[in-house]
Point group: C2
Chain length 459, copies 2
């Protein structure tokens, strides 16, 4: 099937009216990706407002054997939301409300289309916040789908740890609720955990119950330069061993420092850096920052600078958040390939070193930064898409990174997900476990209409 | 089938020799339960030493359509390990080794038969520990199977949060590995999460990779009495809201206090109490204990006593750990029914109050204690099994607790699992989600040989 059958169009139109969009501009917009993947446009884009509408949409698609692809903010880095087999894109822009806030229970119920920044704006007056921060202003539905994390995972975990419950529309239109507002449960299979990270291949998330955190009484951030990457990583390992509770611990290499300086007006020496943040009581963060300062100095850090004022911290983390754009700006017109390996921290220096050596020999740039408290880092490869040799070279570099991750006991994706970009590595990472994923997919979506072409074998 | 076919016995005997046990004493021992459930003995007990042997055992059972039931320490409270449909009990006593310790990565690889106390003894010299503490000296395999937690979950999470990776033997004898030693991953469906809490109904866990924690620099514990339960719970809520990082926060009612005094020689006033522990730096735990002390006093606490010396803390937590025996000792010869509801903390006082009122009207005792930082509590109902009316009464009380948990937005089991005891509540808790669990079971164990009769519909 390569277009929208009349009967499907009529059914969707009757259900949604003007919220069925067939315009070329809208469809093209939903075939865009932040990275190097390309896709034909979807046959249509739909904008449901209720779970029941989502269920009806899925039922209509099931009847017509049409792929169903969820869409949040389009910030995925592995082509997750691209309709590569055509079909209907379900854009959750009109399901973006906060439904319930429970301040005593530190939880919130939201629709999938809300972005993390919008959620935190709504939470501001409660003294609570949602801690997961993948950098991009992604939607919560998308973050759940890819099991996102980011700079704060070292303290607060990933989406796996922060989604308490979900409402999901399955491939046959059934609506299920997984989990509850209880903080923990042993009541059967962990379906919440199964749908978090399933990349829309098992169903569409229509509601999320999320854990919240109290805004810390005090926050302290710091940045410092190291003579080389190994010393920086050793400082991280030592800090973890000491049990110092870091809220963020980010590594950037000298190329990133240069990119930040050019793009965000920072004035970082062209060396590897650690950027760190502590959350806690006034006395607690002061003690933690002092302990870290001592460790960093022991490992040769220089220019240690604490930022306790909100505006200084904001400037620091803005530079980090804009890293992707800063790196992209070093090569105008280039497309990004965002690599994302995660290894046991004892192997992290080795993994980064080998990757740097590979990139040094390559013809394309690839600045490295990472959430090093988790052993996760990215080399952002910049590709001139008019030069096919560069894409091949980038794929070869990424392949070597992925093989390296597995050799060192890690994973090919710490936080970006499989989508289209990591499919080839699933057999090596999971072996027969990938078949088990396929069996689960087969039983819950036998006609393979939910986001086909992603995550699964032959899908 | 009601006994072991000769061909299965011969195959198991050829594989295991003397590690196939057909003795009545051994079989009877594997039909025992800590609580009120009863079961016929298994046809045989097997003691594998390797994963490959476990896979062979499962293949032999699959060929003969024999149920396969895993056995750890037999400490389950919901009859999980009982061979209620007969079959072969796989006792992991001879797979109880620590395979690898990675101090820099804060992880450990173990076999399923090791107990948590044995694990922590082996870890002692490393400065690391495994924090999950369900009270009983359960095996790690069993703790994973039931998604156990306990007193420290408020700080360190449950087994869900502390298992990084598993090796699992599936119903057809396939051996899969889920997860890796990376701290996080977005590489496809979370199979680790699927098997943790699956109660052996999808496969047998043969190896676990676990997160470890650094032994805290300082530990401080305290106990204090409250005028009533509501004040105690309000103090907990306030402490959570303040972001004070508690390592343990346990509630016991006046009946428990009396039982502890009689059994463990404590000298607690006959009032509701909170028992609390802080982990961190010297300065950190001192600050936290002080903040908690102020909050507790504000809510009417008396007799606030800090225990910073190891022996005082040990005495305090020993009394708590022996709670089940202490409660059982108040009614010699009685069997326990261990209830286990978990609700949002804002509804916890209501849930406990209604439960207490029910028990006050009943003819059987049911002291209440709970992991109140998570909203989880247990009324331990004591039943004279010679009086069928008491078992009925206990079941009715438990049913009302379970209905209450669901009405208040919680779960019928915070940490004990479904097993046989909670099966009847799965439709109410999960609705169509239970069907999805059934679909997953059906696809991975179509002949229903893995721990039949537990967790699933019509199973």
């Amino acid at each position: 099937m390569t277009s929208l059958p009349d009967s499907a169009r009529d059914a969707l139109s009757a259900l949604l009216g003007a919220r069925l969009s067939l315009s070329e501009a809208d469809r093209d917009q939903h075939a865009q990706s932040e990275t190097y993947f390309t896709s034909p446009p979807p046959y249509a884009v739909v904008y449901p407002e209720t779970t029941e509408e989502v269920a009806q949409i899925v039922r209509i698609c099931a009847e017509h054997d049409l792929p169903v692809i969820g869409w949040g903010a389009g910030t995925s880095l592995e082509g997750h939301a691209l309709p590569i087999r055509g079909g209907i894109t379900v854009d959750f822009a009109r399901m973006s409300r906060v439904l319930e806030i429970h301040p005593e229970d530190l939880d919130v119920v939201v629709q999938p289309g809300i972005t993390r920044e919008a959620l935190n704006t709504e939470l501001r007056s409660t003294g609570l916040f949602f801690p997961i921060d993948p950098g991009a202003n992604a939607t919560l539905g998308g973050m759940a789908a890819t099991r996102a994390s980011g700079t704060t995972a070292v303290r607060y975990g990933t989406m796996r740890d922060n989604v308490l419950a979900l409402e999901v529309v399955l491939a046959d239109g059934r609506i299920i609720r997984t989990g509850s507002r209880a903080r923990k449960s042993s009541a059967g299979y962990d379906l919440t955990g199964l749908f978090v990270g399933a990349e829309g291949t098992l169903g569409l998330v229509t509601e999320l119950t999320l854990r919240l955190q109290g805004q810390p009484e005090a926050i302290s951030a710091a940045v410092c330069a190291f003579p080389d990457m190994e010393h920086a990583i050793d400082a991280v390992i030592q800090t973890i061993q000491m049990g110092v509770p870091m809220a963020r611990i980010e590594f950037i290499d000298a190329d990133c420092a240069a990119a930040f300086n050019a793009f965000s007006g920072t004035n970082l020496p062209l060396k590897p850096h650690l950027m760190i943040e502590f959350h806690g009581s006034e006395a607690g963060v002061a003690e933690q920052a002092e302990t870290f300062g001592e460790i960093a100095t022991e490992f040769g850090a220089t220019g240690f600078e604490r930022a306790t004022r909100t505006e200084d911290r904001t400037k620091l983390w803005e530079a980090r958040h804009k890293a992707a754009w800063a790196i992209a700006a070093t090569r105008p017109g280039a497309k990004m390939m965002a690599t994302d390996i995660c290894v046991p921290i004892s192997r992290l220096a080795e993994a980064i070193n080998e990757t740097r050596a590979d990139i040094a020999r390559a013809s394309i740039p690839g600045p490295i930064l990472g959430h090093v408290g988790d052993g996760n880092f990215h080399a952002t490869l910049l590709i001139d898409m008019d030069n096919p040799a560069e894409l091949d070279e980038a794929k070869a570099l990424a392949a070597r990174m992925n093989d390296r991750a597995l050799r060192l006991g890690g994973t090919v994706t710490g936080e970006h997900g499989i989508g289209m970009g990591k499919l080839a590595y699933m057999p090596a990472e999971h072996g027969a476990g990938w078949d088990v994923m396929g069996q689960i997919k087969q039983t819950l979506d036998p006609d393979n209409i939910m986001n086909p072409g992603k995550l699964l074998r032959g899908n």
